[in-house]
């Protein structure tokens, strides 16, 4: 992964946050990608880096919808299912973007974030399971936590450059 120096763009948006709440339906993945890509570009990431951040969030949200909430692709929520949502927070720091993905589905299995032998996986031509690998390749930090009563929190970090200024703790 390439890195770049903080740009004027990054400096001008530092400290700001974009929040998005979407229903836990795969139909909204396209909207999520558009927002994340736009925010990453605005922060000063290059087109390739922005695409990698976009894809990582897409993979994470797909996992939340399909595996955590157990929804099939295209499946609509029942009217009034307001709790079946994904909350995204995109926090601009001086030299990185911090993306918090929150849901209130069943607890995630931390082992699912373990190392994956990609060659073996592809040799078996498995149709599923590549998403976590992509997230870990494209993002510099991947942290998961579960808080009873609050749900799953996945934090993804991508640096513009090795940071010198700590980013304020990100909390919903």
């Amino acid at each position: 992964m390439s890195t770049r120096s903080p740009s004027k763009k990054a400096a001008s948006v530092s400290g700001k946050c974009v929040q998005l709440r979407v229903p836990a339906e795969t139909e909204y993945l396209e909207l999520i990608r558009q927002v994340v890509h736009g925010v990453a570009l605005r922060m000063g990431f290059g087109p390739q880096e922005a695409a990698e951040v976009e894809m990582s969030v897409d993979e994470a949200c797909t996992n939340v919808i399909v595996h955590a909430y157990g929804r099939q692709p295209g499946q609509k929520l029942a009217p009034g299912s307001v709790d079946d949502a994904i909350d995204l927070q995109l926090v601009f720091c001086p030299e990185k973007i911090v993306i918090l993905i929150l849901d209130r589905a069943k607890p995630f299995t931390p082992e699912d974030l373990g190392e994956m032998e990609i060659k073996q996986h592809l040799a078996q031509r498995k149709a599923h399971g590549l998403g976590i690998y992509i997230i870990k390749r494209f993002m510099h930090e991947v942290k998961y936590s579960y808080r009873p009563g609050r749900g799953n929190e996945l934090q993804l970090v991508r640096y513009l450059k090795t940071p010198h200024t700590p980013c304020a703790e990100v909390r919903p």
Partner: protein, 118 residues
């Protein structure tokens, strides 16, 4: 919302009939089942020589890459193959990151892909 548009056509080549699936839009966790259903239909009709034309594909997530890998295994098991043409550069980067360039052939044109079938 653009979604995924698929157009399938059968072409007679020197190497036999080849089915070309032209893809347009986004192949992600929402639209992947649409491609999977089409491929299932083709394979159930014993069409094992498939070409995916991605010239108008704008995005592919792991759901799509997984389908490529799994479909190639299914077609090769029946003496056929899956080949990709016009792979967009931004999708190629993830394709390479995943190591798929070592197991799935990519070609610049449909004709090149047709000629590569045995």
């Amino acid at each position: 919302m653009i979604g995924l548009n698929l157009k399938c056509e059968s072409t007679k080549t020197d190497r036999g009939d080849v089915d070309v699936v032209a893809m347009e839009g986004y192949l992600d966790g929402h639209t992947a089942p649409k491609l999977m259903r089409l491929i299932d239909d083709l394979i159930s009709q014993k069409h094992y020589r498939l070409v995916l034309d991605m010239s108008r594909l704008e995005y592919m997530s792991s759901a799509g890459f997984g389908i490529l890998a799994a479909t190639q295994k299914r077609t090769q098991a029946q003496g056929g193959d899956l080949k990709v043409v016009n792979l967009p550069e931004k999708i190629r980067r993830t394709f390479v990151t995943l190591g798929l360039e070592n197991i799935i052939e990519t070609h610049a044109t449909r004709e090149d892909a047709f000629a590569a079938f045995r």
